[in-house]
Symmetry: C2
Subunit: 422 residues, 2 copies
């Protein structure tokens, strides 16, 4: 509306979505019906008329648009602005961590803080775009299994859209996510089993009825929301790329999305330099199929049997459906994969909190632990500009802290205060 | 930097702060030293060269500035941009609640959702500006009593500024806030008493040492951060005002701040209409000194003895230091004050969650309960445009929900699913 007056611009489409394409076998599908995965079982990816989008999606046009993910609407799948389901998802901050950069011996360290999004995590991006597009295509009700945060986000956006939502989570999921689903009015069940059990129940339900299965990468549009992390980082760098981006990796949608954003931004000319950021997938040693596959230069991951426990439970995915796309993103950008342990994660979370003031989720903290490891072994260089992706707020992880504060006696507050206030 | 090239603009000040003035006795103080309250014990308010600011702070100038509270820097107290301590506090969304507007019988209902701010509440605004200015004026370390959310915010910004922070909270404070203070590396103690006991300890400590006491309204700049809620609402309305703004009220800094924003926006010409929004202070029936004082048309509140408990614990302030400023804001705008009970709060929180997808804090939910009450008795009219201020995210209040989700047996999921999926 605000940008320009020429006839060409007046007829611009809100979305330049053209079709869907299998990420593995490349089979194409029309984009105007609800789809799940490809016949071959792999995720479908949204493809766009990039030449068309190129004339509309320019840095100049972007400069006058609201700071929220819909600013990139030409390369998002929703056809009509009136179909956008929004909870006010603002562009998240890219914070400079100057103290930690200096201590870590890198030129610049930035934190992309996704905790500011609705429901407190980056899952809101996928849910905003996924729910909007599902409703635009006529989905009446949606169902999903979740480890927690995705369920919260999709339940909230379904409520915003006025659609029914069904969420199943394992008992081990964090309690705050169950609370969020309840407040959002979702049908919520806790399964006496694993995430895979929950997924099987949802798959059967969807096959037999009109519930739309929105499990990770089993519908094509969640990744379109997630890729906006990449668009925002590149725009916040002034349409340049950093040297390294470290992402927590569970299902891998963020890293696949950033890789997709990179290709699209280059194709439409938003990014004009040849350089690519080295993408790093970060997992917990409790469940590290991607670092293991990367170490072997495999194109797929083997299932991680008997995953352990970790505070960074968002990374607990033994065999991601999009494993080949994650690994492709790493190989294509000269990236790598790293597994970090609980002590490193907790120490990193405290360092970011006490040195920079941000309470990041354990998954986000894991990226700083990985950064320190990669700097120590020289893979990250002193001249590198590094971005850490913190996928959510620490507020959803009260078990990050185990110590209790001391009790101060109001009649005799002296001893502890003396110690602190010397 | 980006706006204009004239000489006049080139010499614009970052802040037009001129002096401090007592909100009660009007005694003036210089603004370039650290101050607490006035000699008379009342809060000091920041005053600006409004004629100077008028030429610089225009809707046009604002249109090219980043969407964060510092966009109003001419009317904020920080002298130099390099002294800004920021965690990326973005302009918070103003969400239309169309379903609830229709159900409530008002023309338009908007939710100002402060949950998107760092640390998840509006306290981040006060802490961002308060910590920035305290550091600019040379404060070496800061101390405060808190019911929870303010402590989290100030601890985070103090860490971001690289300053020591000491926080004392009553045992009854929510545990997540203690966790946040710990992660931020603050000195944190829990007192075996009330907020007043904690405040007395801090006051003594500050009197005897170099700890700067940043208790609510005992330093002049927290309110300057909070007033940006008003600036944002007016700007998001296209520099118009809504008919009614409902604010949760504890210490009252939000309502005092919005009232101050209204006067300043009119003085510098950002708001050109004569209309003022009717401001409503919302408290819990557990502790309602402001509604009681308003009902008597008193200019001050009497202390509420024996406050009860409420989920909306942010409103539990028996005798706010700025009571006379809160009441002045109500009388001056033809506003009112309302107390709502726990059942109304919980019902309102569920309604906003399930009908609109936002998990608001109980304090925020209380404003919708009050809106329904005021609409029912005709004080809010069908033609009114109404804004609800939700001061934080529900994520910090896990005790909002007591029911547990049903357990689904993975071997026999039928019964409950059948019920839901009919």
């Amino acid at each position: 509306m605000t940008a320009g007056l020429s006839t060409a611009q007046a007829v611009n489409a809100y979305s330049y979505l053209s079709h869907l394409e299998c990420g593995r076998c490349k089979k194409q599908y029309g984009a105007e019906a609800l789809h799940g995965t490809c016949e071959c079982g792999s995720p479908l990816l949204a493809r766009y008329d990039l030449n068309g989008a190129k004339t509309a999606l320019t840095p100049r046009a972007l400069s006058s648009r609201p700071c929220r993910l819909w600013r990139y609407h030409e390369l998002l799948p929703v056809r009509a602005e009136t179909n956008v389901v929004s909870l006010g998802e603002a562009m998240t901050p890219l914070l400079e961590l100057n103290r930690l950069a200096e201590e870590s011996g890198v030129r610049a360290l930035h934190l992309k803080d996704e905790g500011a999004l609705p429901t407190g995590t980056f899952k809101a991006r996928g849910a905003a775009v996924g729910v909007s597009r599902a409703c635009e295509l006529g989905a009446r009700r949606i169902a999903m299994p979740t480890n927690g945060n995705a369920g919260s986000a999709w339940a909230a956006y379904a409520a915003r859209a006025g659609r029914e939502c069904l969420v199943l989570m394992p008992r081990a999921a964090q309690s705050i996510c169950a609370i969020e689903c309840t407040v959002a009015g979702a049908h919520l069940g806790v399964v006496n089993g694993t995430l895979s059990h929950a997924a099987a129940i949802i798959r059967k339900l969807a096959a037999e009825s009109d519930w739309y299965d929105v499990t990770t990468l089993r519908e094509p549009y969640r990744i379109e929301g997630k890729k906006t992390i990449g668009y925002e980082i590149f725009e916040q760098f002034g349409w340049r790329v950093p040297d390294v981006i470290l992402c927590p990796c569970g299902g891998g949608v963020a890293i696949i999305g950033i890789h997709k954003a990179l290709a699209e931004c280059k194709a439409v000319g938003l990014l004009q330099e040849k350089k690519v950021p080295r993408l790093v997938a970060v997992q917990s040693t409790a469940c590290a199929p991607i670092p293991r596959a990367w170490a072997k230069r495999s194109s797929e991951a083997e299932e991680w049997t008997n995953p352990g426990t970790t505070l960074a439970f968002g990374t607990l995915v033994p065999k991601p459906l999009g494993d080949f796309l994650i690994l492709e993103a790493l190989y294509d950008t000269d990236g790598c994969a790293v597994a970090v342990d609980e002590q490193e994660i907790i120490a990193a979370q405290r360092a970011i909190g006490s040195r920079e003031g941000v309470f990041v989720c354990p998954e986000g903290a894991a990226t700083f632990a990985a950064c320190k490891r990669l700097r120590a072994d020289g893979w990250i260089r002193p001249t590198d500009e590094v971005v850490l992706l913190s996928t959510g707020t620490g507020l959803k992880y009260p078990n990050s802290v185990s110590e209790a504060p001391p009790v101060i006696d109001v009649d005799n507050p002296g001893r502890i205060l003396d110690l602190w206030t010397r």
